[in-house]
Amino acid sequence: MKPPPFRYVAPDTTDDALAALADAGDEAKVVAGGQSLIPLLNMRLAAPSVLIDINQLTDLDRIEVSEARVTVGATVRQASLEHDEEAIRRLPLLGQALRHVAHPVIRNRGTVVGSIAHADPAAELPAVLAVLGGTVEVRSTAGERTLAAEDLFVGPLESSLDPTELITAASFPVPEGRWGSAFEELARRHGDYAMSGVATVVHVNGDGLVASAQAAFTGVGPVPVVVDLSGPLAGQDPTRLDTAEAVAAARGAIDPQPDIHASAEYRRHLSGVLVDRALRAAGERAWHQGGGE
């Protein structure tokens, strides 16, 4: 099994990388961890004529944690974020989701931003970015812009990025106030893409009751499907949620497709089971630890 031939470029600076992208346009693919792209090349499902390796861009290998957000540079490995105690303490959802991303060995190479740029609707990290209302920093030789998750993901493996643009960082906002999160998924085999998965965030108000709740599903739509479940859950005790109405609302909001792994009906049923579990876990965490594990 051999990838098709390509010209290899390994720029030393972000500016050089952007120039190479501007030069090659849609002939080029960017490689960082390569854990999604190289399988596609090996199977000849992708055949870029230029491969731009951004691993030399050490200024992008940075995790920044503030009160308001966790910002992850384009070459940060999934394992590095998973083991960054400060980032995970600030935003436990990152850790809750990362442990479902493939296997530990894959996470040693795979990057957080690469997973987002790849825009696989079955992947965990796009859903995390979506449920938190996160953004990506995008640069090209023409300038830079900030793109919201909802504007980035447009279809399966399809983002709204121009071929000349590079995502330099992903920014995960820390919810305000008292909140808890959870990630649940079910895969046929450990480490496979899940048949369905869901990230949830439950917010609790000053009286200790649910203020709002969001969920983002993987694997049941062309992009991560964000569903606001505040309506059916607001005002409830977060440790004793009656989720029947929220589960029904979630099942109604998704549009799963059948494939070799599961029928559409099964995925819809499963999504309801998973969101029920995830909402309960997030509610407990919001009550007990104000956002923690």
Partner: protein, 173 residues
């Protein structure tokens, strides 16, 4: 079209190894074909089976999901690099031998390298951590139970002898 060839040098098992390769040469093929280290096995070539796992700067990585040219600034350790000076097995290999952690042996180099990486990071893994640690490697013979035992045995041996999980081994301790 003549394909461009690149002169690359990669540190493999502590020694610089050079070859002239196309950019699309996978690290797994570089190891096996260009420098003749056939201990690294090639199974699925898309990151699922784990047979081609090597250590990249001490951490397990799939050599089929990396181009050799990308490994130039890194230190690669293959299963050959675990051998002691006098050809002795590494404690992880010895544990697989003692616990019957292999049958046909095709998946074994990948398992051994994954386990070396796991034990370097976590010298005393729980059962759950062992399962998570080897979850990215497929074995079609053993049913995994003896591999699981081998990992615990290897952890014990490494702790007893104080050896490096990722360096050349002395199974005798």
């Amino acid at each position: 079209m003549t394909e461009e060839l690149l002169d690359i040098t990669v540190e493999v098992n502590g020694r610089p190894r050079s070859a002239r390769v196309p950019a699309r040469r996978l690290l797994s093929d570089f190891l096996r074909h260009d420098i003749g280290l056939t201990g690294t096995h090639v199974g699925c070539e898309h990151g699922v089976c784990g047979c081609c796992t090597v250590l990249l700067d001490g951490k397990p990585a799939r050599s089929c999901l990396m181009f050799a040219v990308m490994a130039q600034d890194h230190a690669v350790t293959t299963v050959e690099g675990l051998e002691g000076d006098d050809g002795e097995l590494h404690p992880v290999q010895q544990a697989f031998h003692e616990c019957h952690g292999l049958q046909c042996g095709f998946c074994t180099p990948g398992f051994v390298m994954s386990v070396c990486g796991l034990l370097a990071e976590n010298p005393d893994p729980t059962e759950e951590e062992v399962l998570e640690g080897i979850s990215g490697n497929l074995c079609r013979c053993t049913g995994y139970q003896n591999i699981r035992k081998s990992v615990h045995r290897a952890a014990e041996a490494l702790r007893e002898t104080g050896q490096s999980a990722t360096g050349p081994g002395r199974a005798g301790g």
